[in-house]
Symmetry: C2
Subunit: 187 residues, 2 copies
């Protein structure tokens, strides 16, 4: 792996672990094994490097979700697979974490991948729930967009509650609660 690549991957890890304000160029250099000159040769500065890292993380999450959403199975099955997929719960969401970071949200370029990822995810899930409703698998009264938003929120909030408790089981509990409520809407 060349230095440029190592810089991006190290930045992804650090943004995940410590957020943007908590990640220093020095820490990136140490983890990647690249020196200052190398870093400032490949990237203009911290924010440009963070953008490359963040965009890649968002793309990864999107690809994984889409693979699950477009797999065979009923809508509820696919949503369940997505919600219950194994996750590094105590580390949290590599993209959602940055929505809390003031310096990320203050920078339009950095903010864009975060906004787009959640916009896509919520919309795609709403689409899926809409299909389920049309197919008669889900109650006609179910609001696809509101429900999709709530499900994505359960995941993001689940990460927070699990970290607060120091236990991944809390995340699973939140997902159980959401699926328990959704089950009632199955026809």
């Amino acid at each position: 792996m060349d230095k440029r690549e190592r810089l991006i991957e190290s930045t992804r890890e650090l943004l995940w672990e410590r957020g943007y304000v908590g990640t220093s160029p020095k820490a990136i250099q140490e983890r990647s094994g690249a020196g200052q000159g190398s870093m400032y040769h490949h990237f203009q500065g911290k924010s440009e490097l963070a953008l490359a890292a963040l965009a890649r993380s968002a793309d990864d999450l999107r690809a994984r979700a889409e693979a699950e959403f477009s797999a065979p199975g009923s809508v509820v099955e696919r949503v369940t697979v997505y919600l219950r997929r194994e996750r590094d719960v105590l580390k949290g969401c590599p993209v959602g974490r940055l929505a809390q970071d003031p310096d990320v949200m203050a920078d339009a370029d950095l903010r864009k991948p975060v906004e787009e990822f959640f916009g896509w995810l919520t919309g795609r899930l709403a689409e899926l729930l809409g299909e389920g409703r049309t197919a008669g698998e889900l109650d006609a009264e179910l609001d696809p967009l509101a429900t999709a938003t709530a499900l994505v929120a359960v995941l993001q909030g689940g990460y927070i509650l699990a970290r607060a408790a120091g236990s991944p089981e809390v995340f699973a509990k939140a997902v159980d609660g959401a699926l328990g409520l959704l089950a009632t809407k199955e026809t």
Copy 2:
């Protein structure tokens, strides 16, 4: 308001806006109008001051929630009032925000109020849902603890989605989705 008090209140604001790693002693001093000497006279350092600020924020949230939970009305009514209460959505949750902060979670003292607040909130809400179930207001199949965890997660995740989108309406959408699902469990 004396300096000690101003220091705590300024720290609460900054922790809310910028998190723990993003808040410097200098910023606290500037906002509070206290000098360095004053700050280090009243508190041993940044972490002790943050603890005082965080504990107070958690106490406030708890008191507000308890007032809503113990008000008159059916269980679903009280839960709805709590979920729909007006919030500073784009600022996020002053306590939940810190669950994402690595330096807060790494310090047992700082972590404690976060863990206790969410433990209390989830438990209290589960208790309420349990009462509703016993009273026949909610479906006998509803799992109080899992449902309570999901509802708290919707709030915490709602903050994140709203910040990502730059719009408080996304928070409201998530709450709508959760209440829409819960409504099906009403008998």
